[in-house]
Amino acid sequence: MRGADYVIRRTGAALLTVFVAITLNFVLFRAVPGSAVTALRCFHCTKQFKAALEEELGLNQSMWQQYTIYLGSLAEGDLGTSFTDHRSVWQNLKEPIMNTLPMLVVATVISVVIGVAAGVVSAWRRGTRTDRLNTWAALSFYAMPTQWIGLMVVFYIALRFGFPVAGIRDPTLGILEEPSTWTVIADRLRHLALPALTLGIGLYGEYALIVRSSMLETLGEDYVLTARAKGLKNFNIVWRHGLRNAMLPLVTLIALSFGYILAGAIVIEEVFSYPGIGLAVINAIDQRDYPVLQGAFLLLTFAVIFFNFVADLLYFKLDPRVTA
């Protein structure tokens, strides 16, 4: 099979990166001035309590011992225990992650749809006013801070058109009567729509620019000329012959953008008070809850490494010119 070698090498590299990430994560959080416990924001904690907590967390042992303990518990899938509510970190993060995922998916779909449409139109009409307008719009949206787009969306869309601007579900729902499944789903979608739209707008510019340049290149290929000579319709040429080949960079870019999508999600969740992973991270910072922060950071790093790995494999699978 082509590239079994490549897959193995990429997997090895990804695993190595995971290991580096774990180690760096350990070092980063041990580099706290004082210890994590002294930095804990907790007003009713006594000295004795903090000492006991340090002991419980093993912070009084040597670095190396701490490191091996950390690796050992990670191997068992134990991310630690939250300082503030004494539940496991995973318990703390599970629900936020589940809330964030649908938003990321919807946002990605929105950005890809707008991005591809804008890019294709731009490339098709290259050099015209439509193209210039499109490219300027894409560049500008690309240059806007995501949280600011969010504020603008709240200010100019949500408040004017009666969309919810905070939370993930209507708190009054289910008080008077048991809501039907449809009402619940509709309510979720209403809360999810604007954060996802914001993220989609923030992402689309990059996709549009890449689809445009990739399309321009594809439309200059000989087989497109051949297709024209055969008398195919423009629509077929652009969508079948052009876009299909121009999609290659986009597919990998989407996987590669995952880190950036996450970054956008974090600030957007702050704007919309959307109880996802971003808000969980921000709350953990506010309370200096290091185990949760560390766990969240590790999970996010894993996710990005995973998507980079997927991007590598996709690129290899889709483009036969890539050699192992």
Partner: protein, 325 residues
């Protein structure tokens, strides 16, 4: 409608990265000349940048009010005295924007200079020395490429404290990677040039070769890349400030955006507190992107060819690594 013959890659449009440089300028003067004459967008970008830098430098002279003193009622709308109204503390918005330019641009330029130093050093060492040094340095670079940048910034800012210097260091430490990769590939090709080999045969040492022959060749590209990094750094600063991890005593555009959320500008219907800081950030980032990309294009026309187009519009993402052979 018809599909005309497609002009050579990306002609027309007149936007950064879409124009093929009329003449590939390779001297600094050529680059400058092209910036001003050949590329209107780059000239526009340069103008915007100069304007904002001038505003930032002259802040104490030109700002109409003090950035710390209440000048009127909270969220007073724009008037002839307060061109952009007042914020949630009754402070003149225009004054805040001008002072905010100082911190935002300072962070942007300082962080990207530092990133240039790190990335340039790593790139030159990696490309010039090759072998095991190259492998190790590129492994480290690869790692920094996959680490989720914003979560790392958040964690680092939260752990190491919220001073301006810390933020500059954090941003620089995250965004040096693309510079390193770009410079590395450039150095690799310079190293193999005949004149470098000749100089080596004549007995020039590594240090002399790097300083006298390699560095001058890669400096323009390094500068172009730095201008692009300024955009990324300013963007990153708005994130950090927005999450309340910036230096609380400093006014920056990111902080102003945060203020408009925490101060409730949205529910006070105070558009003048929400819109302007974002517009400033967007303008500066656009300007940096245009200038940087135009410089890069004129220095290295090859960059825009073929599959490399994937990497053209990176602002927040490091370039994809794919070996096409």
């Amino acid at each position: 409608m018809t599909i005309e013959a497609v002009p050579p890659a990306g002609a027309g449009g007149g936007l950064p990265g879409t124009d093929l440089a009329p003449v590939a300028a390779s001297t600094p003067r050529g680059v400058l000349k092209q910036l001003v004459l050949g590329d209107r967008q780059a000239a526009f970008g340069a103008l915007v940048l100069v304007l904002f830098v001038a505003l930032a430098l002259a802040a104490p002279l030109i700002s109409p009010y003090s950035p710390r003193v209440k000048a009127g009622p909270v969220y007073a709308p724009p008037s002839s005295e307060h061109f952009l109204g007042l914020d949630d503390g009754g402070i003149d918005m225009l004054t805040l924007l001008i002072w905010g330019a100082r911190v935002s641009l300072l962070v942007g330029f300082a962080a990207s200079l530092m990133a240039m130093l790190i990335g340039g050093t790593v790139g030159i060492l990696s490309g010039y020395l090759g072998g095991r040094t190259d492998t190790v340095l590129m492994r480290i670079t690869d790692y920094f490429l996959v680490i989720p940048d914003v979560p790392l910034m958040i964690v680092a800012a939260a752990i190491w404290g919220q001073s301006l210097l810390n933020i500059v260091i954090i941003i620089a430490v995250i965004y040096w990677t693309s510079t390193a990769r770009l410079i590395r590939s450039q150095v690799k090709s310079v190293r193999e040039q005949v004149y470098v080999k000749r100089a080596r045969a004549l007995g020039a040492g590594n240090v002399r070769l790097i300083v006298k022959h390699v560095l001058p060749q890669v400096t323009p590209l390094l500068v172009a890349n730095t201008v692009l990094t300024v955009a990324t750094a300013i963007f990153a600063e708005t994130y950090i400030a927005f999450l309340g991890l910036g230096d609380p005593s400093q006014i920056s555009w990111g902080k102003l955006i945060q203020n408009s959320l925490t101060g409730g500008a949205i529910f006070s219907d105070a558009w003048w507190a929400i819109v302007p800081p974002g517009v400033c950030v967007t303008l500066v980032i656009l300007a940096c992107t245009m200038v940087g990309q135009s410089m890069e294009d004129s220095l290295n026309p090859r960059l825009k060819v073929g599959h490399l187009s994937v990497h053209r519009f990176r602002l927040r993402r490091p370039p994809a690594k794919a070996e096409v052979g």
